[in-house]
Amino acid sequence: MARSSGDDAQALFHSLRSAYAATPKNLKIIDLYVAFAVFTALIQVVYMALVGSFPFNSFLSGVLSCIGTAVLAVCLRIQVNKENKEFKDLPPERAFADFVLCNLVLHLVIMNFLG
């Protein structure tokens, strides 16, 4: 029984990997970008847990910039993905323009709150 569940997990993992290999390249670039942002956020949370939350506004600003970046990148991925029926009529340039504008606003806010 243990062997079969081990085999099942491995089979699941293999199928996930092969399915993911089939995604288009630009979506994989966005996924990498999101992973980078979330990783940076986790580093900051671990640092705060060790050192304490002294300049709390700086902590919030740093974490928010990472999370905000990740959220905007996920939105871009949803809108650019060709398999997504909902945004079939949305031109990818429009999605990219929205992404850039929102990021500008996000970074303006972050710079002000950083202290």
């Binding site: 940076t40 910039s65 970046t69």
Partner: protein, 445 residues
């Protein structure tokens, strides 16, 4: 013509005389030193024979510059003050048998005299009246309630040919203080004959200067003891001093003959010891303690409290947290004729707000200036520089200067907080990542 010159000359003379008289007080002020206490002392006696039988003691006071005014205790003309001003700076009561004082003097007047900062010496005796006992009680000292009791010591008495009932005792249990009793050790015991008193142990203003030996007790020597005496041993104080909170000093003792010429000149040998001293320690003891009572020793003054930021000269109105500041004060001691710098290594200053945040010992330059420097604590509020100094035999110093401490202004913080560098780094790395991502997204195949 001649008459005109004569009137002119007399007018010039008159003018010179008037200007000299006007300048005289300034001359006098320039010659006198500002002693903390005056020199006029009123001495009240039961009868004028005391003036001659205690002349050695009075002469020792007069030779140090005191102006003694001898009066009988029931003289109707005595008064301590006139029109609100005190006529005397010190009072000596050598009148143990007086029931009522004459003139305007009474127990309340004497206590007001002490409350206004003047010094007092009270000598009671075996025939002490209620008035004297009550004055002593108000000063913090309780004489034995039995009016016939005297201090008797069958082991520490003074060996003599005449007195056989052991009421003349030789006491040598002195307080250990060179401020009160002088630098020279008193070698010979002090001869004492009179009543004893006890001190309340919770009273911290009164000091036992000469205590009776553990074998002494207070009882009537002529009658048999029916129950154990209430005052025994070292709890009996023969000579006590009180330093009030306003630094007035009071000496209370139960023997008028302690001050007498007879005991000053007599030789003393304590029973049980083989040494016979040629002269009893009474004169040295009383001279030194009178110096202390009349503030010739142990009187401190603190002047010139200064505080400023390190490197600046003037006192700011307010400090900021984590400022470096320095504090200095000058303390002098009256030596009997001039103010000498006080040298000690245990003067401390507190930076106090509800509790001392900083407590530092001041260092002295031996010329009277005490100074220290410290960092203002990281707490803001209204602080005080408090200097509390109470040592045995010295006047108490209590100085306090208030100063507010403010927090940082918004532009006095550090611009970039080192603890937040990772957050700065993360935010900027996100911006750089976004920039690079746009190229990657637009130009990938």
């Amino acid at each position: 013509m001649a008459m005109a010159t004569a009137t002119a000359r007399s007018a010039v003379l008159l003018l010179a005389l008037i200007s000299f008289l006007l300048l005289l007080p300034f001359l006098a002020a320039a010659l006198s030193v500002d002693s903390p206490k005056g020199r006029r002392v009123l001495v009240l006696l039961d009868d004028l024979a005391t003036k001659s039988s205690h002349s050695l003691y009075f002469r020792s006071l007069q030779s140090r510059g005191y102006d003694l005014d001898f009066k009988l205790a029931d003289d109707p003309k005595i008064g301590l003050q006139r029109y609100g001003q005190y006529l005397y700076d010190g009072l000596i009561l050598f009148c143990p048998a007086t029931e009522r004082f004459g003139g305007s003097l009474d127990q309340a007047a004497i206590l007001d005299f002490v409350d206004s900062g003047h010094d007092l010496i009270i000598a009671a005796d075996a025939s002490a009246s209620d008035l004297i006992r009550e004055i002593a009680t108000e000063c913090g000292v309780d004489f034995d309630e039995d009016p016939l009791a005297v201090v008797v010591d069958h082991i520490g008495y003074a060996v003599s040919d005449t007195e056989g009932d052991h009421t003349l005792i030789a006491a040598d249990d002195f307080i250990d203080s060179s401020v009160i009793l002088g630098d020279k050790k008193i070698e010979a015991p002090v001869l004492f004959q009179g009543i004893g008193h006890s001190l309340n142990p919770s009273n911290n203003l009164v000091l036992k200067v000469l205590a009776a030996s553990p074998s002494a007790y207070s009882a009537n020597p002529k009658s048999k003891l029916s129950n154990p005496p209430s005052l025994t041993g070292s709890a009996i104080s023969l000579v006590s001093v009180v330093q009030a909170r306003n630094n007035a000093r009071v000496l209370i003792t139960g023997s008028l003959s302690l001050f007498s010429n007879r005991l000053f000149r007599s030789s003393v040998q304590k029973a049980g010891s083989s040494t016979r001293h040629e002269k009893a320690g009474n004169e040295q003891f009383l001279t030194e303690i009178s110096k202390w009572i009349f503030h010739e020793r142990g009187h401190l003054k603190a002047v010139n409290v200064k505080h400023n930021l390190v490197g600046e000269a003037d006192e700011p109105a307010m400090y900021r947290i984590t400022d470096d500041l320095e504090y200095s004060v000058e303390i002098y001691e009256w030596s009997g004729s001039s103010w000498e710098p006080y040298v000690s290594d245990d003067v401390q200053v507190q930076f106090y707000m509800m509790s001392p945040y900083v407590l530092k010992t001041l260092s002295t330059d031996k010329k009277g200036v005490y100074s220290t420097s410290f960092k203002v604590p990281d707490v803001y509020g209204v602080f005080q520089f408090k200097l509390e100094y109470q040592r045995l035999g010295y006047t108490s110093l209590s100085l306090s200067k208030q100063i507010p401490v403010r927090p940082f202004r918004h532009n006095e913080y550090e611009r970039f907080i080192p603890a937040a560098y990772p957050y700065y780094g993360a935010a900027f790395s996100m911006m750089a990542g976004f920039f690079l991502f746009t190229f990657a997204h637009l130009y990938n195949k």
